[in-house]
Symmetry: C2
Amino acid sequence: MMGGMTTIHDVARRARVSIAAVSLAMNDAGTNRVSASKKKLILEVARETGYRPSGVAKALSEGNTHILGLVVPMRAQIFFNHFIVEVLAGIQACLLERKYHLMIYSHSTSRGGITQGEMAQSRYADGVIVLNTRLSSAQDMLDTIQSLRNASIPFVMVNGRPAAEDIPYVGVEEYEVGRLAGDYLIGEGHRRIAMLGGAMRSPGGQVALQGLTDACREKKLPGKYPLHEYTEFERGRIGQTVTEWMKGKYPPTVIFCDDQMAPEVYEACGALGLSIPKDVAVLGRGDLALGAKMIPKLTTIRVPAMEIGRLAAEMLIDQVEQPQAAIRQVLLPCSVTVRESV
Amino acid sequence: MMGGMTTIHDVARRARVSIAAVSLAMNDAGTNRVSASKKKLILEVARETGYRPSGVAKALSEGNTHILGLVVPMRAQIFFNHFIVEVLAGIQACLLERKYHLMIYSHSTSRGGITQGEMAQSRYADGVIVLNTRLSSAQDMLDTIQSLRNASIPFVMVNGRPAAEDIPYVGVEEYEVGRLAGDYLIGEGHRRIAMLGGAMRSPGGQVALQGLTDACREKKLPGKYPLHEYTEFERGRIGQTVTEWMKGKYPPTVIFCDDQMAPEVYEACGALGLSIPKDVAVLGRGDLALGAKMIPKLTTIRVPAMEIGRLAAEMLIDQVEQPQAAIRQVLLPCSVTVRESV
DNA sequence: TCGGCGCAGTAAAACGTTTCAAAATATGTG
DNA sequence: CACATATTTTGAAACGTTTTACTGCGCCGA
């Protein structure tokens, strides 16, 4: 196999010391377990032979790999989801600091490929971040949680708050998302609000709708509003819904939808000859990078995706390194990013 | 550490056989090294104890981890680059089939975090895919290649063809990209073509420009064209260049630019009151997902990103599994995805 | 009945580290 | 100098697998 890989033995031999001494010298953390002179010698030999300790051997010996897994829905298109991508960026930032590696897993066996089970059971990861999206079925999630529990692998869920309180979780307070959207839009003078579900079809989406509804009720808006509709992300369905709404007798003055749906909403409005935000406003949810590139630039409820990722990684590592640590559920606050579409 | 993890020893003890028997039974590939009855027993015990072989131990023993590394520029924003994301999707698809894991690395030490060196030297990965982007400096690349060579870790480069022929590489024929763009645009009646560099500032970009220029020369277009300019991706610079061009005496009739620059080109044109494709056409390069969402939908030179990723992974695994395999450089063909912007 | 052969099963070495406990050496004290 | 104590160094076990070479054993043919 690895033909000429230098091992700790090679270094020990050339430096005329024991392998223990080499190990000690390499991992020295201030505690002087090895004399200065010898350490200098060993480090020198290590440098000139290009020795690097084997992560695998280290992992086997120490009992942990310093690898974290990211469990995401298996679909190949996964990374086209900007939300995920931003969460990933946050995770990555944290791992770089904490010197952990990141490994990508997929869950759901539906497509007949390698299942999360088979892959994860190699047990490379010290812990995993389970990323919930509208692509992941509730059943997948439960299965995943169950199997992680069984294998007693630490994990943190992201996005899609689990029913149980004893499951580590990072996300946003969905109710507040709806509430914030409602208060903001009403403050801007809107009375006829429509909400386009999708990402919101999840339990979290229901809660957001509740928040929006409460905001409307509180301000005594006409009973019919907020309108809402859950459309799949399939191309066409969104435009269809928007068109129906706008052709109604009292069309909404603003459409509240996921950032990723916004381009199609724009398109549908354009096709109807409606200008944004003059004829109808659009409020996004997410504050993904693409929003700032749209014309007009998308006003949106900011979901702090990077922070979510970073925090999830942080929590997971804490949990891995000290298993007795308390389990937390953290809900980050949202805010409105005001641009041009409302 | 992992408190109650069942090991091969536990299974062996409970089944009253040797650990060798367990290993043999688990990894059986048709060759009957263990009797049917014993095998049945062992598998049964393994099932009921929930035994899963440790990937780490297996890796140490076998000398390979079945992990592939993906080396990308360190910037946290990395995944906002759609090209990378699509390549990644292709890689992932291949790895699922071939039962490999994917680990994410970053190169460049400039930000002072963990360097690719430190991380990669843990030597978890059996091989790595090095993803070149305009974010990665040529020096980074050379360093990376050098250190991989030193450590004799198999690798494949993607995007940004290396000068040397003996470096495994997957990408597109940049000259053909320019050529294709030129032929297509001229065929559509355009005579004044402008090319906006950026991703094209790389050596590959120069070659693409050459292809475009040759196409123009061949058709005897006015000597001044194609125009070209290399702008950084910074916000504002693109619009500025476009504005200068369009205000010139003989403004280009079409702008050829990277897909990811297109939104800003659209915006600049909008600000100038120019309508696409009536007043000026826009041709992208990439065929990233976002192009189909723009209004009007972007016509673009398709770079088969997913295929590139898939092929890179395929080649790398082949190389890992049979080191004597020949080194290949593969250049995939491009095509024009016709939509609405030309 | 014996030798040879194939088959099922196993002991032990190997993979490259860390770490524990013991050994060796140095340092200090009376 | 003898002894206790501190420091440095090391041998060996442990981590959980795979794999190689060997041991029994039953069966066959002579």
